[in-house]
């Protein structure tokens, strides 16, 4: 049985919703009642059935709508997809990875057939059936990275590894939490993380880089990150700040449940075999407060996390303006009882 893809929007009338099954599989990022940075990296291995980790590259009910939204973003701003000239080989690596994983996890929707370097790719949800020569860019309508990331949920950063550092030399970035590929392209790991508060002092980036440069083929890793977004908008980019920034002034006690969304990124890290680069898929999951609080444990815990969040983090995540309204709204759903350990709903 395949996925039923929703018809929905991430802009204008914002018809994005999660079905009840998708609420329960939401990757809630808090395993305890408080939050602080940690190097929370773990092996990216297959998780329980019915979770977002059931497959290493997750495809869900929002797939078709997200790909349509990506196409709209790219039509307005082609610089959301960039690949420096030396990164084409890494693009082929990524094409192989995403085709293999999507075909493996969702055979009813995707099929990959290989005959040497003649490949046939069938993507039924998007109505694509292409035959091409692996390694020959002229046989695809776009470069290999752009071709496959127009058909894969989440943003993708491809990092070149050299001189003991990682360099943001290619990417497809249209569902980002307020950062810009066009600004970061060509930067190294320390340069693009410079704006993050507190973590530098803790030496987190030095340890994280050491870990990432040692990621081995066949052993991907992952971590969760989170922020909040007003309205289910995938494209919260600096380029479009004028469109979404003002949304943050529109939160009222009456509309918190509908407007405020928890935004969770499932970030994974994979060594690419031909280019020796690293790809960093950043998959965004959105859930509105009304949906999230259908799980009482999550409601109680989120209240405590947001209430006690250090000021610097609240500022960095852009929550300052509506935090009091949100905390007040969530407090009514927190009876003070204990929450069970772990991420999942009760």
């Amino acid at each position: 049985m395949g996925i039923t893809f929703r018809k929905e929007t991430f802009r204008d009338d914002f018809t994005f919703r999660n079905s009840p099954e998708h609420i329960r599989r939401f990757p809630f990022p808090f395993h305890e009642d408080s939050y602080m940075y940690a190097v929370n990296i773990e092996p990216h291995v297959v998780g329980p059935k019915g979770s977002v980790l059931e497959n290493l590259i997750d495809v869900d009910e929002h797939y078709v709508a997200e790909m349509q939204d990506r196409a709209l973003v790219l039509a307005e701003d082609p610089l959301r997809c960039q690949s420096l000239p030396h990164m084409t080989l890494a693009g082929w690596d990524l094409l192989e990875l995403l085709m293999e994983q999507q075909a493996l996890g969702y055979p009813e929707h995707f099929t990959l057939t290989r005959d040497g370097d003649r490949w046939r790719w069938i993507n039924r949800p998007l109505g694509i059936d292409d035959t091409f020569t692996f390694g020959d860019t002229s046989t695809l309508p776009y470069g290999p990275m752009e071709y496959i990331t127009r058909q894969s949920q989440g943003d993708f950063c491809i990092l070149d590894q050299r001189d003991g550092n990682l360099w943001m030399d290619a990417g497809m970035v249209t569902t980002q939490a307020d950062w810009s590929l066009d600004f970061d392209i060509g930067m190294n790991f320390f340069e693009w993380h410079a704006p993050v508060p507190l973590a530098h002092e803790k030496g987190i980036f030095i340890r994280a880089l050491k870990f990432l440069t040692n990621i081995q083929q066949g052993k991907p890793a992952r971590r969760l990150n989170w922020t909040m977004t007003i309205n289910p908008r995938l494209d919260t980019s600096p380029e479009n700040y004028h469109k979404w920034g003002p949304d943050r002034t529109t939160v009222t006690p009456e509309n918190v449940g509908d407007k405020v969304h928890l935004r969770v990124e499932l970030q994974s890290f994979w060594r690419l075999p031909r280019s020796n680069g690293v790809v960093f898929p950043i998959r965004c999951y959105l859930i509105k407060m009304d949906e999230l609080v259908t799980q009482p444990k999550w409601a109680r815990r989120l209240h405590r996390v947001i209430r006690d969040l250090p000021e610097e983090l609240a500022t960095y995540k852009g929550l300052t303006r509506y935090r009091p309204t949100l905390v007040e709204w969530l407090s009514k759903l927190d009876d003070g009882s204990a929450t069970s350990p772990g991420f999942g709903p009760d």
Partner: protein, 321 residues
């Protein structure tokens, strides 16, 4: 035994003598599937079960990265080493089931390079076999300068010349042919990257001359896996696990730690990758550092050791393991 990589169950599909010192080994997956794709310059760690003893040695993959039906490595026989190469030459026959690691690349091509200038010495030719295949397949611009003792010991020189013709230049020690290094390094186009793999003396010479001639360090790439050297046995206390171990004369410190059931992480086992870096709690004696990972300052400090290749002589050594 722990490692930084996933293991591959393989079978030796062919053993081919190449010349009087070098033998080539072919591996295929036991389950008949394709092997993982790799990039030119990658190595695998081969597990050698030799009676009671397990040795783990890194070897560069030398086949084309485009062919993943088999992996090939070439092993130079070292009659005075710790026995890994002798084991490969004497005991590894077609049909033998072995375990190797996933490929790891610590000697990667910089794909920004406008030109790749490669310098090989002796068995240091092996990573360039894969890198030249990779570049040739994608129209890459490279030039290979290969120094060997004699024509008959010029492992794969004939193959390379046949494949790449004038892009390969050979130098034979017995004919007193020498690379005119300064001239070579001074006459390269902008955007050239330099790669060197061979004996330590050659690597140092090339790096020194490149630095003196103004090559930015980011454009100079080298790979030298130090083989663990034999030496006098010594005793070590592992402070974290509370064990006392003896490192045999033909054993590396890392192997002795592993034999005691403690598994530090590792990737290269050749003093390059930094994974097995170990803190020294206390010592009374002298370190014999053989790695390329720690800084000279680290070596002088006596606070760190790379157990894959370095040894110790003296009264006592306590490590944080």
């Amino acid at each position: 035994m722990s490692t930084g990589t996933t293991k591959l169950d393989v079978v030796v599909s062919d053993v081919v003598p190449v010349n009087e010192l070098v033998t080539r080994f072919h591996f295929r997956r036991r389950d008949g599937e394709l092997l993982p794709t790799f990039s030119g310059g990658a190595h695998v760690v081969v597990e050698m079960r030799d009676g009671e003893r397990t040795r783990l040695n890194p070897y560069s993959l030398m086949g084309s990265p485009l062919n993943t039906s088999e992996y090939t490595i070439s092993v130079r026989r070292d009659d005075v080493g710790r026995g890994g190469s002798l084991f490969m030459h004497r005991s590894v026959k077609p049909g033998l089931e072995m375990v190797i690691s996933y490929p790891v690349n610590l000697f990667s091509l910089d794909l920004r390079a406008r030109k790749h200038l490669m310098l090989a010495g002796g068995i240091g030719i092996t990573p360039f076999m894969a890198q030249t295949s990779q570049l040739a397949g994608s129209g890459g611009n490279f030039e290979l300068h290969y120094t060997c003792r004699t024509a008959s010991l010029g492992t794969y020189a004939d193959v390379l010349q046949q494949r790449y013709d004038r892009r390969v230049r050979l130098y034979h020690d017995d004919l007193d042919e020498r690379i005119d290094l300064d001239r070579l390094l001074s006459s390269q186009p902008l955007g050239t990257h330099l790669y060197v793999c061979g004996p330590a003396g050659m690597i140092n010479w090339v790096r020194d001359r490149a630095a003196a001639l103004g090559w930015p360090s980011e454009t100079v790439h080298f790979e030298h896996f130090a083989a663990p050297q034999p030496g006098a046995p010594f005793d070590v206390t592992l402070a974290v696990t509370g064990k006392t171990i003896r490192v045999g004369s033909q054993q590396s410190l890392l192997e002795a730690i592993e034999a005691a059931g403690v598994d530090p992480p590792y990737l290269c086992r050749g003093g390059v990758c930094g994974q097995c870096e170990t803190n020294v709690v206390s010592h009374d004696g002298k370190f014999i550092h053989n790695d390329h990972w720690l800084s000279e300052e680290d070596h002088r400090s006596g606070c760190k050791i790379m157990p894959c290749v370095s040894r110790f002589e003296g009264k006592s050594l306590v490590l944080e393991r």
